[in-house]
């Protein structure tokens, strides 16, 4: 099988390197993202995908049609869109992780198409926009374009860095706000000035204490709490009502849910301000009005659910076997640092999901952001093998050499 995949790759590896070079130079800063998306779209078309579509949220979807229509496989790659407030932080000349995912994802389908291996269902390769803490892209994709296919999807493979292992999940990440409203200037040291700070400090202190006692999960790691920001309005002490918000960036594990975290945060805050009858406390999941590069405005909650598949699940087992039987030294693992669209596909929709790709999540933050083209090509072959194992048509007994 592996030789078949390599054969499929050999014919297009020059094209892959050209594409890699092109995409490395592009970035997804607001002014350039349209060009980036267009580049991806055109590449899929030139590789002979049976259909290439774009939807209103900016998802780019390429389909390789199967010989039959039984079960589909979906590959998810993503485009990291920097937050509009940040200047387009330099991603130029880098084959950063998400770009490597896009290349290997797109080319895995091209390899399969070239080997003429018939599939029992469609292979759908999606390039999904993701801005920092929002998964608006993937949600829109599954609620619209892929809605009709939902019952037919055999599984999802996330083209994310896994060092060519099969990754089964990661911690969740959410952003929430604790809003404290009320007359904050009474009974505080009015003449001292900075009342807001004084009021706020006990809460912050308490949160710091809590952050040191968070639970941890054996496979996924430790939960984390980080105060991202503090904002207040109504600064003038003379005003009747003012409010401040503490914005918390929370990394959490499956035993905690976002609603339980919000409830707990509210309880903590209420405890801190026990005596203050004039203060009201509320917690809310942060939301962002995301304006996609295609002009659509979507309200997106800032939450990526934690998720974890298990090694004995058939989808995982078959994927790992497909790799190890073809000389990949893959093993099972989990991401420790990043979040992925798996939070939605498995966390919310319960579609079997795994991750496979070149490079490691550590590289995203390290100085050396480049990934070797060999690794990307290997990842493309590995993805093709995983897809083939699940929706390919096997031929037992006959060896291509022997006929």
């Amino acid at each position: 099988m592996k030789t078949l995949m390599k054969k499929g790759m050999d014919g297009i590896d020059r094209q892959l390197m050209r594409f890699a070079g092109t995409i490395a130079e592009k970035n997804t800063a607001a002014s350039e993202v349209l060009g980036f998306a267009e580049c991806v779209y055109q590449e899929m078309r030139s590789l002979g995908y049976d259909r290439v579509d774009r939807d209103k949220a900016g998802n780019i979807i390429g389909t390789v049609k199967g010989y039959q229509s039984k079960n589909d496989m979906v590959l998810i790659t993503h485009m990291d869109l920097p937050h509009s407030k940040e200047a387009g932080t330099a991603q130029k000349n880098d084959l950063v992780a998400y770009k490597a995912g896009i290349i290997s994802g797109i080319y895995s389908a091209a390899i399969l198409k070239r080997t003429l291996a018939p599939l029992t269902g469609d292979l759908v390769v999606c390039c999904v926009p993701r801005s920092e803490s929002c998964d608006h892209g993937i949600k829109y994709l599954f609620e619209n374009y892929l809605k009709k296919r939902l019952s037919r999807i055999r599984g999802v493979v996330l083209c994310e860095p896994t060092d060519l292992n099969v990754y089964l999940g990661h911690k969740g990440r959410m952003e929430y706000e604790i809003v404290v409203r009320g007359r904050l200037n009474r009974d505080f040291l009015v003449n001292r000035g900075i009342n807001m700070l004084g009021t706020m400090f006990p809460l912050v202190n308490e949160l710091e204490k809590v952050s040191r006692e968070l639970p941890s999960d054996y496979s996924l790691g430790r939960s984390n709490l980080r105060i991202k920001d503090v904002r207040y309005s109504g600064y003038q002490p003379q005003e009747e009502v003012s409010e401040f918000k503490v914005v918390v960036d929370r990394v959490f594990i499956p035993e905690e849910t976002s609603s339980s975290i919000l409830t707990k945060a509210k309880t903590i805050a209420k405890n801190v301000y026990k005596g203050e009858s004039d203060l009201s406390v509320s917690t809310v999941l942060a939301r962002e009005m995301v304006k996609t590069y295609t002009g659509l405005t979507v309200a997106s909650e800032k939450e990526f659910k934690p998720w974890a598949m298990e090694g004995h699940q058939p989808f995982v087992k078959s994927a790992l076997e497909a790799l190890t039987e073809n000389k990949f030294l893959s093993s099972l693992g989990f991401w420790k640092k990043i979040v992925t669209e798996g939070s939605y596909t498995y966390g919310s929709l319960n579609i079997p999901t795994i991750g496979f790709g070149a490079g490691s999540e550590d590289q995203i933050e390290s100085a050396d952001k480049t990934l070797s083209e060999t690794q990307i090509k290997k990842a493309a072959c590995g993805l093709a093998l995983i897809v083939e194992r699940h929706i390919g048509m096997p031929a037992f007994g006959w060896s291509a050499d022997e006929i």
């Binding site: 099988m1 054969k7 014919g11 010989y67 039959q68 070239r114 003429l116 291996a117 018939p118 078959s318 076997e321 497909a322 039987e325 194992r389 390919g392 048509m393 096997p394 031929a395 037992f396 007994g397 006959w398 060896s399 291509a400 050499d401 022997e402 006929i403």
Partner: protein, 356 residues
Amino acid sequence: MTLVIDPGSKEIKVWQVQRTKCGLVSTLTKEPADTALDKAACQKLVRRAAGKKKIDQAAFRILFGGDLFGGPAQVDDKFFGKFSRLTEFFPFYVPQVLETLKLFRAALKGVPLTAFFETSFFLGLPDEEKYYALPYEYHAGTRIKKWGFHGILHQAHANMFGPKEKVVSVVFDKQTTVSAIAGRRPLSISLGYTPLEGIMSRTSSGDLDPGIVFYLMKHEDLSIYALDDLLKNKSGFFGMTGYDLDIAELAKMYGKDPKVNAAFGVYETHILKYIGEALAELGGADAFVLSGSYLGPLMPIVYNLIKKISFLGIDTELAPWQSNETIFRITREGSAVRVYLDRMDTGAAITHLMQH
């Protein structure tokens, strides 16, 4: 002049076959199929193979026709749709060949094209030979049965004899197959649904105790894909000897290397098993025909085999057996059972079948 094309996945063979006073003469042109064939390359290949001669007709050697092709078929527009329905049975072969056939069809405009299948002849097997002793739902649901192989040569051999004669036909090729033929119809064939039933080959185990499959899956923790790979790519001569060599090369080591001898011993045993089966089915044989592209290189093994079954009434000329004829008898006049060697290649065999 007839052009016969074998659109293999590793290499494309094209025979140019002419009828001369001495019979059919074929010239072979080969082209590796690694790089995807395109329109121009295909046309170039056709021109190279045909030389300057006019192509009267062309034929394709297709390995599998499944249930859908019981005989040769016109390669017209309807053909492609029908052939692609076999994808589910032969997914590693049908898609590639479809593309190649379309290219050749374009390059051979105006030339009548016929497809010949290596399995067609065996659609005529008796039911008790064709089906396996599995629960009834597996026949009905999956249409699993013996497809057989090398039908083209076996059928050509059948046509060499009269309607009342009983023939054992053996083809020595990358696969080795034995067929019992009576009244020009097949009664048995060694290769089954896949080469995992039948005579061992370079990398395939051939006949094996089904219990071993389950034993190995359990003890070596193998998936069906890994076991399939083991049995079809890592067994056979390669598995038994450790030498990754062509059978023709291994034949040169016959008699000199104990592992090679052991492998050929099992190979011979497999062949004897199917000749025995053929003899029981036929109630005795009038003639044997031995053929295939490996007949020459395997001559020492073939010689041993004939010696082993000579008690059936086979009285051969002194070896080595040589002749200028394509098909010639190696037994003496008066031998109870006649034995023929047939050096006809696929191109000539198909051309021969086209004439009947």
